[in-house]
């Protein structure tokens, strides 16, 4: 089966601090993972992705870490800004002949000015 879930429902962080959001997945065949950001009233927006042959990938202020041994994914946001307040979802690419994304439940990040 597929199960992508997040450990913490809400993360409150001071502006300027770093944020870490964690995600567990259970499908060992998944080969691609994405972090999405969802602001209120909007659809999921792509933040960063990582393929299963990588352990780490960096973007602008964001880093994704993948630990395939324990099926764990994390998103690190450096110097968190008020605009980072949103719900963050991890998603995995389920490969079963077709391709589709399976999303985790979501983790609310609240940035305190």
């Amino acid at each position: 089966g597929e199960s992508v879930g997040l450990h913490l429902p809400t993360l409150s962080v001071q502006e300027g601090d770093n944020s870490i959001i964690n995600c567990a997945y259970s499908n060992s065949a998944s080969d691609y993972f994405i972090w999405y950001k969802q602001e209120s009233g909007k659809g999921p927006q792509f933040i960063i992705d990582i393929r299963s042959n990588m352990d780490k990938r960096q973007g602008q202020r964001v880093t994704v870490l993948l630990n395939k041994t324990v099926k764990h994914l994390s998103l690190q946001i450096a110097a968190t800004q008020p605009g980072d307040s949103a719900v963050y979802f991890c998603a995995e690419n389920i490969r079963n002949g077709n391709n589709r994304l399976a999303f985790g439940k979501g983790n609310q990040v609240v940035v305190i000015p």
Binding site: V4, D31, Y32, I34, Y36, G41, K42, G43, P44, Q45, F46, D49, R51, F89, A91, N93, N96, G97, N98, N99, R100, L101, A102, F103, G104, K105, G106
Partner: protein, 116 residues
């Protein structure tokens, strides 16, 4: 930047009524998807569509649901007889290719469906 457009943004309907949710995918995209998100829960896959047919559907996508690409620009989700539990945010997405690893998905802003 190209966008996926969904209309309406909010739809209120009586239980048992039919609703049609509309999406205009990005023009050069070939793969289309519907997802839904019940309030406070995760985004769930409903259906994928390519070459005028369903590629894959989830167990949620039962006989009450159907999708259609009636012309070259619209992609619709129809719920034949709505139930209270159909209340959710429905997201349309499109991609240029079938693999998100190569092409990624672009999501619309969603239609909030409220069944009363």
């Amino acid at each position: 930047e190209p966008e996926v457009t969904q209309t309406p943004s909010h739809q209120v309907t009586q239980m048992g009524q039919e609703v049609i949710l509309r999406c205009v995918p990005i023009s050069n995209h070939l793969y289309f998807y519907w997802y839904r998100q019940i309030l406070g829960q995760k985004v769930e896959f409903l259906v994928s569509f390519y070459n005028n047919e369903i590629s894959e559907k989830s167990e949620i996508f039962d006989d009450q649901f159907s999708v259609e690409r009636p012309d070259g620009s619209n992609f619709t989700l129809k719920i034949r007889s709505t139930k209270l539990e159909d209340s959710a945010m429905y997201f349309c997405a499109s991609s240029e290719g079938g693999s998100p690893t190569a092409y990624g998905y672009t999501f619309g802003s969603g239609t909030r469906l409220t069944v009363v």
